[in-house]
């Protein structure tokens, strides 16, 4: 049984999702919250297996809560919910420690898959977060390219990636271009998300340095 906390400030959406969660087998709706702070309190008290968090809530948003969960070393996995699709929301969520990202309007089957995957710690990304090269098999990345992609995925600007790897910015740009080509991505974010989807890069690899950078 997966114990779930649902936090969404919009009552209609919240009750709709709650209605589904209550009906769904294998899950238990442990708590409902309408803002970030009360969600955080419930997480601390109930230690749910999964927190379904709306990105945009008054006060602390879903990304803040996800970051707090990671910082406090809680076992609760996070699935980010949003009415709004933006790659950077996905990236910010993943960097904050969320295991998955799903649109509120997603079909129930996708929602079900997302909930069960992320509760077990498996990375999940909403298929409607548009990625051009998602279905193509793609080429293998070289180890150097993987490094570049991981560092870029941690949100480092090209100049920092270059200095960390002791190469020039021009070389970083060249590596990225080659990565885009191999993955079929149009930009850095897509490349990272596609690499995540294909398992070329693991979610935790994106977070490792990010966490260190947070506490210099």
């Amino acid at each position: 049984m997966i114990r779930i906390l649902l936090a969404d400030d919009h009552p209609l959406t919240r009750s709709g999702l709650a209605a589904w969660l209550e009906k769904e087998e294998g899950v238990e709706l442990a708590a409902l919250a309408s803002d970030g702070e009360s969600a955080w309190q419930s997480i601390l008290e109930l230690r749910p297996d999964l927190a379904l968090l709306d990105i945009e809530m008054p006060g602390a948003g879903g990304i803040d809560i996800a970051a707090r969960i990671r910082k406090n070393g809680l076992k609760t996995n996070v699935l980010m919910l949003t009415a709004y699709s933006a790659h950077q929301y996905v990236m910010a969520s993943l960097r904050a420690g969320a295991k998955g990202f799903i649109l509120k309007s997603a079909p129930l089957e996708e929602l079900r898959k997302a909930v069960f995957d992320t509760a077990r710690g498996i990375f999940y990304l909403d298929p409607s977060v548009s990625l051009t090269g998602a279905d193509e098999p793609g080429e293998e990345l070289s180890p150097r390219e993987r490094e570049v992609l991981i560092l870029a995925g941690q949100g480092l600007p090209a100049s920092e990636v270059a200095s960390l790897l002791s190469i020039t910015e021009r070389t970083v740009a060249a590596h990225l271009t080659s990565i885009y080509g191999k993955l079929g991505a149009r930009n850095k974010t897509e490349a990272i998300l596609l690499a995540l989807k294909k398992g070329i890069v693991l979610l935790d690899e994106l977070r490792f340095l990010d966490g260190e950078r947070g506490t210099p």
Partner: protein
Amino acid sequence: MRKHLLLALMIVVTLLTAAGFLFSLYAFRAQEEAMDSMMRSYVLDLADTFSPGIHFSGRGQMQRQRPPGQARFRMLSMDPALKGGDAGGVLILGRDGRVIAGSHGAEKLLFLWKDAVPGEEPRKVRDEQGNDYYVVLRELEGDQDRGSFILAAVSRTVLLAPLTGIWRFWILTVMATSAAIFLGMILLWRYLAVPLRRIAERILGMRWGKDHPPVLYGGPLYELESLSGAIGTLAEEAFAKEELKKRYVSDLVQAEENARRHLARELHDGPLQSSVAAIKRIQLAKEALPPETGELHRHLDTAEEVVQTAAREIREYCDELSPSWIRLGLASAMQENADRLAGAYEGVSVNVDVDEDLDVLPEERSLALVRIFQEAVSNSARHGRARSVRAVLKKEGHAVHFSIEDDGGGFDAARISGAEYELLRTTGHRGLANMNERVRLLGGTMKLESSPGQGCRIDIVFPLAREESTAAPE
């Protein structure tokens, strides 16, 4: 030529004055000479009149016998101008300097005797009072007069006093007038022409409406002061008007941005959430339906699709109006922006590199940068047909450097950045004018570099607010 007309006029006047002055000097000298020769002939005449010697030599024996009494008589009837002796006179002196005869009051002239040298030419002698005398001393040649002298003298100073006074006054007047005109010219140049030129230069150098007017004039002339005051007032008014216009434009930009944000939030919190809730309910309803209700299921599918479409459209509107991802911080927002722009302009790769220190920028300023970048990419893609646009946002000290580069066709930037951005707005370059406006609102400057075939580079620099430059990134 016209530039130096005033100077030329002043030089002409000065030269004419100098010429007048020199001519007066010449006339004075000529007059001096004329008076000198007049006095000389006068004193010679006087000596001739009383000199018996002339008569001996000139008119024969008859005159030689004339006794001194006759001379005495002649002396009495001498030129009335000489009466009293101050103006001159005639003395007949013995060899030992004894006065034999003399005109009235001529004893006063006796002191001239010791310096006098016999001769035909008059000599000029000055007494202790500074009076000038023309003196002639002749030796008498008659038998009984032998060894005697006749001394004739006239005082130039006394005789010509009125004339000399007039001349002296004249020359002084001429000199004073010349000096006054000369001084006047210098003053005119120094206090009027030069300040006028300076005022004109400063007015020409002024960026009308852009700068506060400089101090135009600090001199003593009331007229120039009021003139420069009037110009200063005009310039201040132009400045104020320009400021008002700018403020009006920034108000417009800000009001528009606020309205957009408000509308986006309303759409996001209202219709979008309701659509999402409706979708969830439809999905739940579909799940709850028994499998055999085919027609009802199809209706629900259609309904879900319709609401999904509505939700997607609302999301797009929100994004266009005021992107919510701006709250993720500048680095993420610029990346999202770049991704979306790359999606919107087929075949254009858009890359951004943002210093994460800049995440401290408030949403308003981040949004301005996002809009500037949107405008720039749109220009590069549509006008420049660029294949790649690259932007770098860096924090350098207390300023932010934002450079945008493309590999497009480029254009003649000198032609555009030379013109006022306000002008661009009216000539179809609205995008650039808008960008410039937003940069200005950030308190920064924008520089455009491009030439045909060389792509385009935009450099924007704006200062960080104090709290932005001191805040440490999270």
